[in-house]
């Protein structure tokens, strides 16, 4: 049992290469874009509204299926955006903003949108926003 012999450099190289090959595919394949915290408020006729779903649709998105930043308002009308993990914000850029308010008033009917239809579609919604690198915390959206 002699361990004093140093390992030949050839086998060290071999081991390193083998390790590299074995761990191929172990890295995370999911690619995430850097996000910046976004918060704000939704008002209807000047008053804050509860449980409004706010979605940011990227204006220059090459792939429409990517995860869209979204948030739901609290009873005081405030919201925070989520893109990947809870309240992580949104990537920098300009967005068309849609707002819907899915409320269930009768359990047998399920949730229904209580806001005007024009706010549901990014093509017809008059609301826009620009997210800059850094903190974005004074966004206010008013609907009628």
């Amino acid at each position: 049992m002699q361990l004093s012999n140093p390992l030949p450099s050839r086998s060290v190289t071999f081991l390193a290469i083998a390790l590299c090959i074995l761990t191929l595919g172990c890295q995370k394949s999911e690619e995430r874009v850097a996000t910046f915290p976004v918060s704000g408020k939704v008002l209807k006729g000047g008053a804050p509204i509860n449980y409004a779903t706010i979605v940011f649709h990227p204006v220059n998105a090459s792939d429409t299926a990517t995860e869209k930043p979204r948030g739901i308002t609290n009873p005081d009308g405030t919201f925070q955006l989520t893109t990947y993990d809870g309240n992580d914000g949104a990537p920098a850029g300009s967005y068309q903003v849609t707002i819907q308010q899915w409320l269930t008033e009768k359990p047998e009917e399920g949730p229904k949108n209580r806001l005007k239809e024009k706010y549901s579609d990014p093509k017809t919604s008059p609301l826009t926003a620009t997210i800059s690198e850094g903190s974005n915390d004074a966004l206010t959206f008013s609907v009628d």
Binding site: M1, T64, A65, E67, K68, Y84, D85, G86, P111
Partner: protein, 339 residues
Amino acid sequence: MRSTQFKNGKISGFTLVELLVVIAIIGVMVGLLLPAVQAAREAARRMQCSNNLKQIGLGLHNHHDTFRHLPSNIRPNAVSTVRIRWATFLLPYIEQNTLFEQVDQNRNWSDATTDPATPARTPNRTLFGTRIPAYECPSAPNGTIVDGAPAPETWAPIVANGDYAGFYGVSPELQTLGLVDPASVGVANGALSKTARLNFRDFTDGLSNALHLTESAGRPHVYRRGRLVITAAPASNNRVNGGGWCRPASELNVLRGASADGVSFPGPAAINVTNGEPLVTYPHPFYNVDGTSQIYAFHPGGTNALFGDGSVRFLSASIPIRQLAQVVSRNGGERNELE
């Protein structure tokens, strides 16, 4: 060297190095085998879970053969407030007829009273404290009695849990987010209904393309990605609304998904991310009095799912929510890209 020791008729035993080598080898073998044993145990539990779903599937088909409709969450004709879940109507088809015959169908599942004409009856609430092995996934951490009624009384654990639940539909929020096909969206297009008695004719996508039941385990406590984050306790609404096998609110409601960490709703992650949204206010603005559960199984990598044709498949946690919505919807006429 050793031969000389034997020559004297004396056995000297093992040297320290030999012992260490043997111990090291045993250690390595145990280290290799232990995870394999644990994995085999989990595989056995997963098989038992899929067998439970298979039995429920056979029961659902037998119920359909008898009554020409599937057991439904529709309110019975008797009293408008009475709510009885499909799992109760299925009892005679999973060898639990004695329990089913004791249930008073004119009273709600949480009712603690009995008909004065028959005072000897056991109240529904007590009956629904019975654990039904076929309704429990063996991998899930089930207590004896864990779920209760959120109203009108203070919530307290009174009824036994069930880990299998189905969908009423697909949330329209997911269409705005561009995560599902528009044809899949609908608040009442799932395999379960709270307003109608569905039969096989209503599954126009084909029974094998419709997800009937899947798992939502660990309720009413809140789990996220394998961790218990909120323990349900009386005097707090911070828990998943759902869990009891007798409660219609234990259904998965509409497919909504969550963020990748299971904190924010709605979102693109739908399987094994969280077992539900913590109910903060009751009735909730979005869910109202219905359940807040999400698909969640304690099996690594995915969940078991029963389809309308009675087949049980394993759904990987990585399947996109678009494909999941295609099988949740029973009548969208859309493609089934699953598998």
